[in-house]
């Protein structure tokens, strides 16, 4: 494939299971060396998307390319380019870690000697030397995650599918996965990270695609998504609550009328939009300081991705639960 081509192109894929539409028009792209977070609650269609991209099922319509290979017309090319991990794949629990690495190396066409050397290298890099000759069935959760990823790296993939790679890991192991994803970026490998955890998507991804009920509902960097739900605001807490009316007066035009109107006698702080970020904060601080108003706290706050996520997928009211469960069931089956 040409260097300039996108590593993953998904254009308008749809997939139904019986009468249930698991995917309704999903499109996104991943560049080489980019990490795309595919974020969505259980049953949103993440698994169905991954299954289509890894040629396990075919889409009803739409087009998907992995490293330039079409998932429908050239599945063999796709399978030569990708690496599956996590819930989407498994190892042989009866074989040892070393035997699994050896097996996957040989399945990928490595000569026996090369496969053995690669196994030793990977065991060392993933800190699994001590457990190398124990059956994988006896490994702890973190060790399984590591051997799973190691088995996908016996040969170079062009596209990596990571599924909640850091969930449930200790901070050291998380850090290591983070380093690994950096390695992927440097090597020009595209990473598709599927997760329902915002923190993970926020930390690891360059861009995030939010899907819900089989369709893309938002796309952008974590920052852009945060902007979408109101952006940055400035929070001001005076030392003495009696000063609150004076604060409002001093801030003057910085404070939009809507916020002003929303303040009541029980308010203990003022939250105002800060479209210019630090500059707005600076202006407020100067005005308040000139008026000799003592403050307990003044800070720029950003909505968390959790708030963004809830705002975007906000219709999870009791009435919609059945529907979500149905989707979850379909997605799990797929």
């Amino acid at each position: 494939m040409a260097r300039s081509e996108k590593a993953v192109v998904v254009a308008g894929i749809r997939k139904s299971f019986g009468s249930v539409a698991a995917l309704r028009d999903v499109s996104f792209e991943v560049e080489r060396g980019e990490v795309l977070g595919l974020l969505g609650p259980n049953g949103a269609g993440k698994t169905t998307t991954v299954n289509i991209l890894s040629t396990l099922i075919t889409p009803d319509s739409g087009r998907a390319l992995i490293a330039g290979h079409d998932v429908v017309s050239d599945p063999a090319g796709v399978r030569r380019s990708l690496m599956l991990t996590g819930q989407y794949a498994a190892l042989d629990d009866m074989l040892t870690g070393r035997e699994n690495l050896l097996m996957f190396g040989r399945l990928q066409g490595l000569k026996k000697k090369v496969a053995k050397e690669r196994a030793v290298e990977l065991l060392e890099q993933f800190d699994l030397e001590a457990a190398a000759d124990r059956p994988v069935g006896t490994y702890s959760g973190g060790m399984k995650r590591r051997i799973d990823i190691a088995c996908g790296l016996v040969v170079r993939p062009e596209v990596v599918f990571l599924d909640e790679p850091t969930t449930g890991l200790d901070p050291r192991s998380r850090q290591a996965i983070w380093e690994l994803v950096t390695d992927f970026k440097e090597a020009g490998i595209a990473t598709l990270l599927t997760t329902q955890y915002l923190e993970e998507a926020d930390l690891l991804s360059d861009r995030i695609v939010v899907i819900d009920k089989g369709t893309v509902i938002a796309e952008g960097t974590a920052d852009q998504l945060k902007e979408r739900t109101g952006g940055t605001y400035c929070e001001i807490v005076p030392r003495n609550m009696r000063d609150l009316p004076q604060v409002v007066r001093v801030l003057g035009p910085l404070l939009p009328p809507a916020i002003r109107a929303a303040l009541s006698e029980t308010s203990d702080r003022i939250s105002m939009p800060a479209p210019d970020g630090p500059t707005t904060l600076m202006a407020a601080l100067t005005k308040l300081s000139e008026a000799n108003i003592e403050l307990t706290d003044i800070a720029l706050r950003r909505p968390s991705l959790d708030e963004v996520f809830l705002a975007l997928t906000g219709d999870h009211a009791p009435g919609s639960d059945d529907r979500t469960d149905k989707f979850a069931a379909v997605d799990a089956y797929a």
Binding site: A90, L153, R172
Partner: protein, 277 residues
């Protein structure tokens, strides 16, 4: 892990991907099935199983059935059934492994790798044939100990082994089918063992068909296990003239049962594996 991954070396290999070799893949996947049998006691169970079948049938039944069967010895009469039970036992392991792979999700990983779709099944069946060969050798050995001998030509001995392996292949495909259809390793054993025991007891393997009540004789004579027993008794031969003869009349039904059941299982296997997609 942190320390080593933080080192300067990248975990991503720089070398280009080698070409995959389907023959190598078939062998690697077959070895994958065989290695655990040496460690988890499956091979030992297989060997002990053959011995238990021999002792369990021969000792208690020798006096009673020995008098009513036509051959020179009860060992000569009984051994074909012992061999068939042993290869059926091997197919139980095949079903278990197929179900385990299916439920653990390793098949999904193989399907997303550059491996021809037929290869995992081909490897499971190869591993099943390995189990069959062990079952055949061990149970013939057990038969030899109690007095079973080949009296026919070399061709007949080869035919004997060939028919056992053909039946073993059919049972392996059936076992694999049950495994992927149930996706439940624990459920496979009863599903395989119930027909093994019922067909085994209601067959001509333990006693001649005229020892059964009239109403069930038609079933006993014509069911697959009995037809296989007749064919194997014929191919093994005997010092007396009482063994069935190696004729098409004796061989054809046993071949039809083996090939027919195998073909049906292959068709069902294709349907089930498509639906699993």
């Amino acid at each position: 892990m942190t320390g080593s991954l933080q080192a300067t070396r990248s975990a991503v290999p720089a070398a280009a991907r080698p070409r995959v070799n389907p023959i190598q893949q078939w062998w690697v996947l077959t070895v994958r099935m065989i290695i655990p049998t040496l460690r988890n006691g499956e091979l030992a169970t297989q060997i002990i199983g053959s011995m238990v079948f021999t002792v369990g049938y021969y000792l208690p039944l020798k006096e009673m059935m020995g008098q009513v069967q036509p051959l020179s010895s009860y060992a000569q009469y009984l051994t074909p059934l012992i061999i068939l039970q042993a290869i059926w036992f091997a197919a139980v392991s095949a079903a278990f492994r197929a179900a385990t792979d299916s439920v653990q999700g390793i098949n999904r990983r193989f399907r997303a790798m550059p491996i021809p779709a037929i290869m995992p099944l081909a490897s499971r069946l190869t591993a099943s044939m390995y189990r069959c060969c062990i079952a055949l050798v061990v149970s013939v050995g057990c038969g030899h100990v109690i007095g079973f001998r080949f009296h026919g030509s070399v061709l007949h001995i080869l035919g004997f082994a060939g028919l056992v392996l053909l039946i073993g292949a059919t049972l392996a495909v059936i076992g694999d089918l049950i495994g992927i259809a149930s996706q439940n390793p624990e459920a496979t054993a009863p599903m395989m063992l119930v027909p093994q025991l019922t067909l085994g007891l209601a067959s001509v393997g333990l006693q001649p068909v005229d020892r059964f009540p009239d109403w069930i004789q038609g079933f006993v004579r014509n069911q697959p296990l009995s037809q296989w027993v007749y064919a194997l008794q014929a191919l093994a031969g005997d010092t007396t003239d009482a063994a069935p003869k190696v004729t098409w009349a004796v061989m054809t039904p046993s071949l039809i049962w083996a090939i027919g059941a195998g073909a049906l299982a292959v068709v069902l296997h294709r349907i089930v594996s498509r639906r699993r997609r």
